[in-house]
Amino acid sequence: MPRRQFLGVLGALGAAAAAPAAAQFRVEISGVGATQVPVVVGDFRGEAAGSVRLAAIVRADLERSGLFRALPADQPLDESSNINLAEWRGRGADAVVGGSVSRLADGRFDVRFRLWDAVRNEQLLGQSKVVLPEDLRLAAHRVADEVHEKLTGERGVNATRIAYVVRTGRRFTLHVTDADGEGGQVALASPESIISPAWAPNGRQLAYVSFETQKAVVWVQDLSTGARRRVAAFRGSNSAPAWSPDGTRLAVTLSQDGPSQLYTLPAEGGTPVRLTRSDSIDTEAVYAPDGRSIYFVSDRGGGPQIYRVPASGGAVQRITFDGSYNVSPAISPDGTLLAYVTRRDGAFKLMTLELGGGSPLSLTDTRHDESPSFAPNGRLLLYATRLQGSDVLMTTTLDGRIKTRLVSSGADMREPAWGPYSR
């Protein structure tokens, strides 16, 4: 049976309820992926009584991946429904999600759901998640991740978190939110700029650069307690923190010996060990996922280009050759792909480059792209750019076809960093 026909039916089915989901999440999808699995996600029974719209979160999560078309149900549906899968199949659904949420006597919530395969006419998942009220959004993201994994075989990233900086007038706030940009909490508020947040591999700490002492100093902050410590506050500027994959060391840029150079030091603070020796700028270090090498930016060849050096020091190898300005490297979790920003005709463009040998690929049609970071499953890139005069955060699939804009309150958003799996 031609798939096109099913999708046509679903288009009509989904049109009615697409508007509220878009209004809540502002998931703006531009571009169309090759194939998207149609999944019906019914509103969870009981969710209307609370403030968290679980099913809308699940639908938006699934769509952001670029792998699904997520549609609401036009009839009541929950995990105990005697579901007629043949009927859903006839209406174009490949899979169906039904669930409920109920408040327990101790104040926690029980989130239950089932995932059915409408094609093979069988149940794929049935789960109950008991969570505190503050973790209801997290529970919805975990439902989306489990549906994502069951249907694609790959781990979803919706239950992860991102960090970014918002500037409102002269106030700077470091935000930690769910991967969809919602559920935001403020980790640090300051009258001075904050840049370069970097997640510890355990997902519980952030390193960042704060100018609160009238110079650039690297801090590490525990997210759940707010406890923070200065890890690099040497003479000159201290910036660009990057965690080693085992979480024991930080690579930083220091100017204590003159030019901005790369150093590593213990994550709890300590004596820096100089990694690079040049008369040029060396900065923006990032560890390869195996921890054995460090990618960084240097202008030793004239303009800024991306280089690689062994993490213990040694011979430096140039990585980028196209263009005169290549900065802000990010390495995919499998270590094979470099994302970076290039300057071309006065515009700053998000690019990727296969490290095994390949040509640079441009992913955007915007002109002020900055700060790329990979989702922990390596399937999406998060970056900052400018749209209609506002500084915004976007995600894109690696082929550049599906882009979503993360929530914006109108404030300038910048310096995004995608956190690891753990929370």
């Binding site: 789960q127 109950s128 075989g153 700029s193 500027s237 923006e284």
Partner: protein, 195 residues
């Protein structure tokens, strides 16, 4: 029908099922669907056991989503006042992508160097700045290079190295707002500040 074969094949993967079980201790598998209500939920203490986390690491009753806020408001007033008070004859302007100190600033730098040489307990911080274009971290390093150039110049003119510190604000603290060459040229600068 490509994705059908793709994900039905994956359903057969025991690993996928195992990973779901490991994904969180708070999660309970429901029985196969029947008309009967689901009752397989086991008692759970707090929210221990985030995916990939250490079971029990989160205190019972602490939301996994919790982030504590640190607010530094109030610390910035002194800094703001100091910035406003900086006189314009303490600023060196730079060309695009350049660290070269133009001749027009030599007399001014000479004056500051003499003042520093005359009183060796005097301290000065030189702040480098860039325009807004490009990477924030790279701009921070560019601003540092400008500040270093001014510090070297002051030292050559007689100031003591120990009296001087070069720091950078990169593009974080523009002197004037705007996204045109007029604004950018006012923002590519190094400011000399007593402290």
């Amino acid at each position: 029908m490509k994705q059908h074969t793709r994900w039905t094949r994956l359903l057969a993967t025991p690993l996928a099922a195992l990973m779901l079980v490991l994904a969180g201790c708070e999660t309970t598998q429901l029985d196969e669907p029947t008309a009967a209500p689901v009752e397989s939920r086991k008692p759970v203490a707090g929210t221990a056991g985030a995916a990939g986390g250490t079971p029990g690491a989160a205190a019972a009753g602490t939301p996994q989503s919790q982030v504590a806020t640190v607010d530094l408001a109030g610390q910035g007033a002194a800094g703001a006042a100091a910035r406003a008070a900086a006189p314009s004859q303490r600023i060196v302007y730079f060309d695009f992508d350049s660290f070269a100190i133009k001749n027009e600033f030599n007399a001014m730098l000479d004056g500051h160097a003499r003042a520093l040489a005359a009183s060796r307990d005097k301290r000065m911080v030189v702040e480098g700045h860039t325009d807004e274009r490009g990477s924030r971290e790279y701009n921070l390093a560019l601003g540092q290079k400008r500040a270093e150039a001014v510090v070297r110049s002051l030292a050559l003119l007689g100031a003591g190295e120990q009296q001087l510190e070069a720091v950078s604000f990169g593009e974080e603290r523009p002197a004037v707002p705007g996204s045109d060459e007029e604004a950018w040229s006012r923002n590519r600068r190094a400011e000399l500040k007593d402290r």
